[in-house]
Symmetry: C2
């Protein structure tokens, strides 16, 4: 029985992780859960899965949450510090980090430092602090199990293989909802349209990242840290059907791909059950019904975020963290109607252009760079 | 340095195997070579690769071959017995069996019995004597490394995986040159048209097998023996581009595929270099240039050979051997203009319909069944 704590349990990855746990009650048990503000769902989850500890990020909701749980003996933590405490506990086998954005980084670090393996959906952890986390992983003998469908695909393709025999990684991406939209129409993209993703069921932040294709850029950086390849050996191919989740090309020209229906429960289950493919009856793939798989080059004019991410990875140091914070905030500003769609890459670019990169950064350097980026973006948004 | 003997060295698999050996002269050396009748090429290969022993199947060509090699110290074997002797020698690390048809079975058995691993292109070995060969493999602690692109793909996808967690195998096939031809035109298919394969560069027998799709049927039977799955968990999907070489679906719904340009040198190299992906500069895959991958259901009305092969596998015993011999001879008859294209499945069907299957056959039972099938087909062809 694997004991799990799930951070962000009321979000997209969190709820789907709990569906997997529910499907395999003999394999997994839930120790801890955390949510930002959805106390009703958090209380229901805590009761249904017999969680020992739960954390509510918005502390002022504690009493309401307590009321919902009145008859149960459940420890309630609150606020950022409660989240970090929960993430750093070593009474579990696996931490599922389903948090969104830069806020997910420190919980990953806390788990790794506690010697706990992490099923990682929060891509910002490695984007911001890849080198720091890698050092800690080696120090505490901890593994990361990617949940992202792309990285899960690569991880699966690399089973039994030597990483020295990889020629390149090929990350596939749907191209998002604006793949076929002419560049001239990009400035008038509305929030409502950007939130409609063609294939995947995901949270708002990641859906916008998919629309700008920053998602793919962040995945390139994450893949660099997970699989140890330089930027020029990680390629992006647009694949609108999202059936091939990513690929690995080996030194002899042989390519392995992992495929499936666009359902996050499959990579989540794999990360939870690794190294096993436990029998499950999620929707099955039907190649004849799919009929055709397409491939295109990503359009860097329409999607400058891709270029910005590659540049940040090439430069390294604190720059990917700055890119990530700028993206987080620009996406939030777009979702709050403060900037337009094309304002997202514009803000990111002007922030990373002004950043004085610190190489081989400590966690403190990364925090300082993130803080600097935060202020810079706020200033740019207010104009 | 891996020491190799290559049977069928002047054929399609043989010459491509030698291209791989030439590319990796520090990895592989050639001990033995065999050919049917192309003495000029065999002599050149023997000289170029410093073979110690060569075998010419058509014994009457021995003197001419000897003359071509006058200055070199090379042992020359002749005839079927020479071939079987060469196949059964234990002074090598790997036997590459590039022979075509039922004649390739006994050499595989001889190598396995000598304790030598076999890189197997000859699919008839397992189709005819799968159970016998499996027993011998266990007895002599020998492995088979598939060269066929489909089985190589599955083998690669299964690296590091547990075979108990496979849900099904998905063999892809181009559908051959007559995929889009209406059924009504099948009776007038000419030899010249049937010999034009859209994707792969192969010998005549296999090209016709691809046109009738018996190739895929034989591969289903071979996959059964290589990977231990029953017929109803081995599916065929038509995939005209031949880019996805085959797939494995696991119990959790995750699918792995192996892909590449349609170049046999990649699976040959993998079988020779296993477990390594040695760096090679064969043509590289370009997904954007490929653009699109299609999938269709195989048409069992146009390609009854598929159904015949599944039926033979379901029944088991000596029936797959009979199917295979009948197919070998029917294809030869077609290539000799003795029967039409639709005559191939007709002959096979009437032979397997009349066969009294022996279950759990010994090698002798298989030989007897093959002999029976041989006579039956000859009678049918002569009318």
């Amino acid at each position: 029985m694997k004991k799990l704590t799930i951070l962000g349990s009321t979000g997209s990855i969190g709820t789907q992780s709990l569906e997997v746990v529910k499907r395999f009650q003999d394999e997994f048990s839930v120790v801890g859960l955390s949510a930002r503000r959805n106390i009703e769902l958090l209380a229901r989850q805590a009761a249904a899965f017999n969680a020992k500890t739960i954390c509510i990020l918005e502390s002022e909701l504690k009493d309401d949450l307590y009321a919902l749980l009145s008859n149960k003996k459940i420890e309630i933590l609150t606020g950022r510090q409660g989240l970090l405490d929960l993430a750093g506990r070593d009474d579990i086998d696996l931490l599922v980090n389903g948090l969104v954005g830069a806020a997910g980084m420190q919980p990953t670090i806390n788990a790794v430092t506690a010697g706990v393996n992490v099923a990682l959906s929060n891509k910002e952890s490695l984007v911001m602090a890849g080198a720091v986390i890698q050092d800690l992983m080696a120090q505490h003998d901890v593994e990361l199990f990617p949940i992202d469908s792309e990285h899960s695909a690569i991880w699966q393709c690399l089973r039994g293989e030597k990483s020295s025999q990889i020629r390149r990684l090929i990350l596939t991406g749907s191209g998002g909802p604006f793949r076929t939209l002419p560049l001239s129409a990009f400035s008038s993209i509305t929030k409502a349209r950007a939130l409609q993703h063609p294939n995947w069921n995901m949270g708002a932040k990641i859906t916008i990242d998919s629309a700008t294709m920053m998602n793919k850029g962040l995945e390139v950086i994450e893949a660099h840290w997970l699989f140890g390849l330089p930027a020029d050996r990680i390629d992006i191919v647009v694949h609108p059907q999202s059936v091939i989740h990513s690929m690995v090309e080996f030194a002899d020209g042989s390519v392995k791909a992992q495929l499936g229906v666009p359902d996050m429960k499959i990579p989540i289950q794999y990360a939870l059950a690794y190294p096993d493919h436990l029998p499950a009856d999620w929707e099955r793939i039907d190649f004849v019904k799919i009929g055709s798989l397409q491939f295109e080059e990503p359009d860097l004019k329409k999607f400058p975020c891709i270029r910005l991410a590659y540049d940040a990875l090439q430069t390294g140091g604190t720059l990917p963290a700055v890119l990530n914070v700028a993206n987080d905030l620009a996406v939030t500003a777009f979702l709050e109607d403060k900037i337009g769609f094309t304002g997202i890459p514009e803000i990111i670019e002007s922030v990373i252009d002004r950043h004085e990169t610190v190489m081989n950064p400590s966690l403190e350097d990364i925090d300082l760079a993130a803080e600097w980026a935060y202020k810079k973006v706020q200033k740019l948004i207010k104009g």
